[in-house]
């Protein structure tokens, strides 16, 4: 089986990554463009002896995940933008209770009901909090079906490692596009950790309590400090990004997810016509690859951030650049997809 190549859509690849990581519980609610994932989990949980529940609401789905996670198993839910908004309450509780889980958001056009086209308008919600209170999620942004499989598996390992929810931020494009995916059978091994905190029944030990409510004088501040120390450790250890020609460029593109693939093609086209263009592609949106951006700011002249939004990640690029270089933006919204030609035109205008 190792190395076997199959043709599946990104949503299914994401599900297979979860199965590969030993996901034993999935709860979801129908919403386009991620329905292939829910259907895939219905099938695969049945085959692997895991639990699949089609929940009555997104609220119920994320809270079923909270329960399964509290009970010590690897658990996942998925949705798309409006549904992920509904999950934010649960995500805040999961972070506050330090419960690991994986949440998938295959973004669609917004705001409101929007449409079912691909979009990246949930960046702020994903990396700046989303729910109430001070918390962070590790946010992974795969750019292909293969990465959806690999990073979903990684997401489970990271969630357990830090006792924190991890978000897979995709979009309708990579979720529904079919691509060849190499299975990692025999190659990937889940990084299991002990979970002495899990609710298993108190036989042979004191009771375990899972809570985010801390009413004692100063107790919640202490808890928050502990969480912030954990987030600092994540920030130190879990930044992932890739760069192409970033040190040898006048203009550095910054794009993530499916847009990064188009941006890469635009970079190549621009280079073919003699323009010195590079690309930085954040793979973790939080923690954000600030250092890589800062280093590029030392050698390039301008940045061009490309997103399927009105300009959200561009703010983090500006924070990292800190006024040293011009940071420009090109975006499409509401299901509009930046094309290679459009990006090249933007590059030419800046060159």
């Amino acid at each position: 089986m190792s190395g076997k190549k199959i043709l599946i859509c990104g949503n299914e690849a994401c599900g297979e990554g979860a199965v590969m990581a030993g996901c034993a519980f999935y709860a979801g609610y129908p919403i386009t463009p991620q329905n292939e994932l829910t259907s895939y989990m219905a099938k695969r949980m049945g085959e692997t002896g895991g639990v699949f529940i089609q929940a009555e609401t997104e609220l119920a789905a994320i809270n079923m995940v909270l329960g399964a996670s509290a009970a010590g198993v690897r658990a996942m839910t998925s949705s798309s933008s409006p549904g992920v908004s509904l999950k934010q309450e649960g995500i805040s509780y999961l972070a506050g209770c330090e419960l690991p889980c994986v949440i998938v958001n295959m973004q669609r056009g917004g705001p409101g009901l929007g449409n079912i086209g691909p979009a990246q308008g949930d960046y702020f919600q994903s990396v700046k909090g989303g729910g109430h209170g001070d918390y962070k999620l590790i946010v992974l942004a795969p750019a292909s079906a293969q990465e959806l499989m690999d990073y979903t598996a990684l997401a489970f390992d990271l969630a357990d490692k830090y006792r924190n929810p991890v978000l897979i931020l995709g979009d309708g494009l990579i979720g529904q596009m079919m691509e060849p995916v190499t299975l990692r059978t025999g190659e990937y091994k889940p990084q299991r950790v002990e979970k002495p905190w899990a609710l298993t029944g108190c036989a042979g030990r004191k009771q375990n309590i899972i809570r985010s409510l801390l009413l004692g004088d100063g107790a919640l501040e202490e808890h928050n400090k502990k969480l912030q120390e954990k987030f600092a450790r994540m920030k130190e250890a879990e930044v992932r990004a890739e760069s192409f020609n970033a040190k040898d460029s006048d203009i550095v593109l910054v794009a993530y997810g499916s847009v990064a693939r188009t941006a890469k093609a635009a970079m190549q086209a621009a280079r073919d016509s003699g323009l010195k263009v590079g690309l930085i592609r954040p793979i973790t949106l939080w923690p954000f690859p600030e250092k890589m951006i800062q280093e590029a700011a030392g050698t390039c002249n301008k940045f061009l951030v490309v997103e399927m939004s009105a300009g959200q990640m561009v703010e983090d690029v500006r924070l990292a650049v800190n006024g040293k270089r011009e940071v420009h933006f090109y975006g499409r919204m509401g299901g509009g997809i930046p094309t290679e030609a459009e990006i090249v035109r933007q590059i030419e205008a800046l060159a």
């Binding site: 034993a24 519980f25 709860a27 639990v51 529940i53 929940a55 009555e56 609401t57 609220l59 119920a60 789905a61 809270n63 079923m64 995940v65 909270l66 329960g67 399964a68 996670s69 509290a70 009970a71 010590g72 198993v73 658990a75 309450e89 649960g90 509780y93 209770c97 609710l199 298993t200 029944g201 108190c202 036989a203 042979g204 009771q207 375990n208 309590i209 899972i210 809570r211 985010s212 409510l213 009413l215």
Partner: protein
């Protein structure tokens, strides 16, 4: 709740000779409930049932948001909190991955009958093999005595200061009667804790609800009519009398369903 009394043997609790002893599942803790509140009684009845079946070490409770939010300060078994009303969804997640554990929710009327209406209906409809203890005192106690879905017509609360108007606020919700039509709900009983006689009946009902789960029979729920003297503006005695004279006339006591 504060007690220095001796603990009784786990698995042998609730026998007549040990009636005054403290259940093993109940911790010695400072009581945070108001005078005349029913929660202390219901906490104890739950612990007695758990002791009696010898299931303390396999029990996992889901506490609500409401006055019983810190139930884990009193209970000596595994407990998780849940977002307001999502209690049955959290219990579903736990029970499905740990079917051999005993999982119960403990919810108030705001948690179960307002913000968590969808969760309780669907957990019952799926026939989740869990036990639900529903404490109905007709007000939001923790937040200061606001109107609940179960507040009786004409009852004054901080958000129905002229009395609950059916025209403006709708009718009090009878949750058990709603759930009774669902094939997934297997045991539904309404009890009260306003007198020693009713407490004994409540005790039997709560035991039955746990026994249903132990036997794998599916969803069981006990609604407990409970007193809130503080937000009813009454003495504990008056509040207990009100259960009999007013509350139980709208929410009739007894078994609604037993399969």
């Amino acid at each position: 709740m504060k007690t220095g009394k001796k603990k009784i043997d786990e698995g042998k609790a609730g026998t007549g000779s040990n009636i005054a002893a403290c259940p093993v599942s109940l911790k010695a803790a400072e009581n945070h409930y108001c005078a005349g509140c029913g929660h202390g009684i219901v906490h104890r009845l739950v612990c007695e049932a758990i002791d009696e079946f010898g299931i303390r070490e396999k029990t996992i409770a889901v506490a609500p948001v409401g006055c019983a939010v810190i139930a884990y300060d009193y209970w000596d078994f595994d407990v998780t909190e849940a977002p307001h009303g999502r209690t049955p969804a959290v219990a579903t997640g736990i029970k499905r991955v740990r079917p051999n554990n005993i999982v119960f929710t403990y919810q108030g009327d705001g948690d179960l009958a307002a913000i968590g209406t969808a969760e309780i209906i669907h957990a019952a409809n799926r026939g989740e093999n869990i036990t639900v203890i529903f404490v109905n005192n007709g007000v939001y106690g923790m937040t200061g005595g606001q109107m609940a879905p179960t507040t009786l017509a004409g009852q004054k609360t901080s958000t129905s200061i002229y009395g609950r108007s059916l025209r403006n606020h709708g009718y009090p919700l009878r949750m058990l009667e709603m759930l009774a039509v669902l094939p997934g709900a297997k045991y539904l009983e309404r009890v009260a804790v306003n007198s020693s006689h009713e407490v004994l009946r409540a005790r039997r009902a709560i035991k039955k609800a746990f026994k249903m789960q132990i036997d794998g029979k599916g969803f069981s729920m006990v609604e407990v009519l409970s007193m809130c003297p503080t937000y009813w503006g009454m003495t504990p005695i008056q509040a207990a009398d009100r259960i009999k004279n007013e509350v139980a006339t709208f929410y009739p006591l007894g078994v609604l369903k037993s399969c």
